[in-house]
Amino acid sequence: MAFVRRHRGILPLALLLPGLAWLIIFFALPLYYQGKISLETGSIFNGFHFNWHFRTYTDAWSAYHTQFLRSFWFAGLSTLLSLLIGYPLAYAIAFRGGKWRNALLLAVILPFFVTYLVRTLAWETILDDSSPLVSFLQTIHVISPHGRVLATTGSVVAGITYNFLPFMILPLYASLERIDDRLLEAGADLYGNRRSVFRKVTLPLSMPGVVAGVLLTFIPAAGDFVNATLLGSPNQTMIGNVIQSRYLELNDYPTAAALSFTLMAIILVMVAIWAKVAGTEALMGTEAKT
């Protein structure tokens, strides 16, 4: 105790230590090894050697940019869909939920009690070619009479949307629920109709939830490979599938590591831009106004 009192400056650092150690062991070290592997060449038969082989990156990009772009396209689309579905839902639970609030929230979280894989497999059955749902869609001409849902872009995007929707709803709910009713009343007192109160008060105040929800949905969605494997065809392959096959099927560790790094870098840049444009601006703006 005396030691700590004498070196008062050490205490915060000492308290930081567990977190720091965590970051080093589970973040920095793996990242370092991954980076090192991505610059190696060789094969599993002859061993791998580190030689600053940056060409792996350009080769990997030129071979797999389609899958990269597809991943971001699918992830973006799913995020947008989640937002369109999730916002009204979160809004309804937060403002109209009443005593059912907790039950409704539980209903949102409940699917998480079942494994991700099992839930996706269930969709494989729900959407199969002879399912009632698909024949219904055929009769109302949403899809062609011999069309299918499974193994199409639609089913993959739907699968991703379904699987990550709760990541959108929960932060949205958290920020909507925190909005002070008196602000809405004040808006109404100042001659705002329902629409303008929503636009000028509720929406800006819920922006932190939107920003967080978009991040929490988009990032895992971009790296997902389960939905494309189970609900897609070879024409829906995402970058996650490529990385998985490079690692496990071909034991081509350098390319797999390079692809992971590229994915990480692109997501980082996208997140930075998003935080700049949507995030901080919206956050700061509303803080200042209220």
Partner: protein, 402 residues
């Protein structure tokens, strides 16, 4: 002859760091009868099939046996009853060895990737027996990841391994590998939707567009497609293989091929998502018995034949126990119940006769016991050099969408 066997065995035991005193205490009597048993086996002196069984049990060095055996296998690849494996229970009863049976192998390459680092360091992660398909077994043997077998502990294997599997290219004298099951890769069809499928090339018929799947196992998909192109997968060149991959790619792009599967087709065929696919004979037996409209077809151009092999990885903690297990399995009456459940092609001679007694309908199934005429049209996939393997595998993985 028996003298020499005893000497050899003592050498082996010493190598295994069992002290001479231990051997003296427990082993001498056993060692004697071991010599006699292998003599009988080698000279074909065992009376009927599995006749050597009795002697063999007496011979096992109880002292050298471990208390457990760690066996890694593929899912659904051994008999199951009431959530347990009767065969393994029988083994435990007989030898007092508990088998830790893990169904952790889903894919040759994936499993290889998982344990490669350990094997390179000379440990097996506690595994005593692993089961790998021919080409991967060959690759692991070449890398020095597999222990050499002590054949004097495997008299039943010497005696009962079917002749077709005794000499194979990756392990000409079966010094490292003991077959677990063999299987055939051909076409599985929904006969109500696709009634006249005879040839491999019928899978490319536009009538079945989007209702067709192939396998993620490169050798099965490329091999069958090559057969359809009039090339022999056993002797064909790398460019023949790449040509087959190009052909598959064309049909992926135009939407003919819906996707590539492991045995997911088990679900796709009954659901009607798939009408024609490349698939494995053992699965087909199960599918056919559940659904009259599903049938395995040996394409007129031929089909693929493969074997999964038991291997002892380097650093296995109980290699002797593993050999005792392998030897014990190689008795028709032990193999029959396994076969009755897994429905692939057994490598143990005499299994059919043994199975006729317990389940005649399965014993008469031509997919499990194919006739010599059928087997003559089976092809094994060529052993590839590491460079060729990379080249073909890369091209294939790109086409199957990864």
């Amino acid at each position: 002859m028996s003298e020499r066997d005893i000497d050899k065995m003592i050498d082996e035991l010493v190598e295994r760091e069992i002290s001479r005193r231990q051997l003296f205490r427990f082993g001498a009597a056993g060692a004697m009868s071991m010599g006699a048993a292998s003599f009988l086996a080698a000279c074909g002196g065992g009376s009927s099939l599995g006749g050597g069984t009795h002697e063999q049990t007496k011979v096992v060095q109880k002292s050298a046996l471990g208390t457990e055996l760690n066996f890694s296998n593929w899912p659904l690849y051994i008999d199951v009853a009431h959530g347990k494996h009767p065969t393994l229970e029988k083994f435990q009863k007989k030898f007092g060895v508990h088998v830790n049976y893990t169904e952790e192998i889903n894919d040759n390459t994936e499993f290889f990737g998982k344990i490669r680092q350990q094997l390179a360091n000379g440990t097996s992660g506690g595994r005593d027996i692993i089961v790998m398909t021919d080409w991967m077994a060959g690759k692991m043997i070449k890398l020095g990841y597999i222990e050499k077998l002590n054949k004097q502990f495997l008299p039943n294997v010497q005696k009962n391994l079917i002749p077709a599997l005794q000499h194979i290219d990756f392990d000409p004298n079966r010094d490292y590998s003991v077959p677990w099951q063999s299987g055939q890769t051909g076409l599985i069809v929904r006969t109500d939707k696709a009634p006249d499928v005879k040839s491999v090339n019928d899978i490319f018929n536009p009538k079945y567009k989007g209702k067709v799947t192939m396998l993620t196992e490169m050798r099965d998909t490329v091999g069958l497609t090559m057969l359809g192109m009039g090339k022999d997968p056993t002797t064909g060149s790398v460019s023949d293989m790449l040509a087959a991959i190009d052909k598959v790619d064309k049909y992926v792009k135009n939407g003919q091929i819906r996707r590539f599967t492991g045995n997911d087709y088990l679900k796709d065929l009954p659901h009607g998502d798939t009408w024609v696919c490349y698939g494995w004979s053992g699965d087909a037996v199960q599918l056919e018995s559940d659904n009259k409209n599903i049938k395995f077809i040996h394409p007129e151009e031929g089909f693929m034949l493969w074997t999964d092999n038991m291997l002892i990885p380097v650093g296995a903690p109980h290699p002797y126990t593993a050999e005792v297990f392998m030897n014990w399995i190689y008795q028709p009456e032990v193999e029959a119940p396994i076969e009755d459940y897994v429905n692939y092609v057994p490598p143990v001679a005499g299994t059919k006769a043994a199975l006729l007694k317990i389940d005649p309908s399965v014993a008469k199934n031509p997919l499990i016991f194919p006739t010599a005429n059928v087997l003559a049209k089976g092809h094994a996939f060529k052993q590839l050099s590491p460079t060729d393997e990379d080249k073909v595998n890369n091209a294939f993985q790109k086409v199957i969408g990864a």
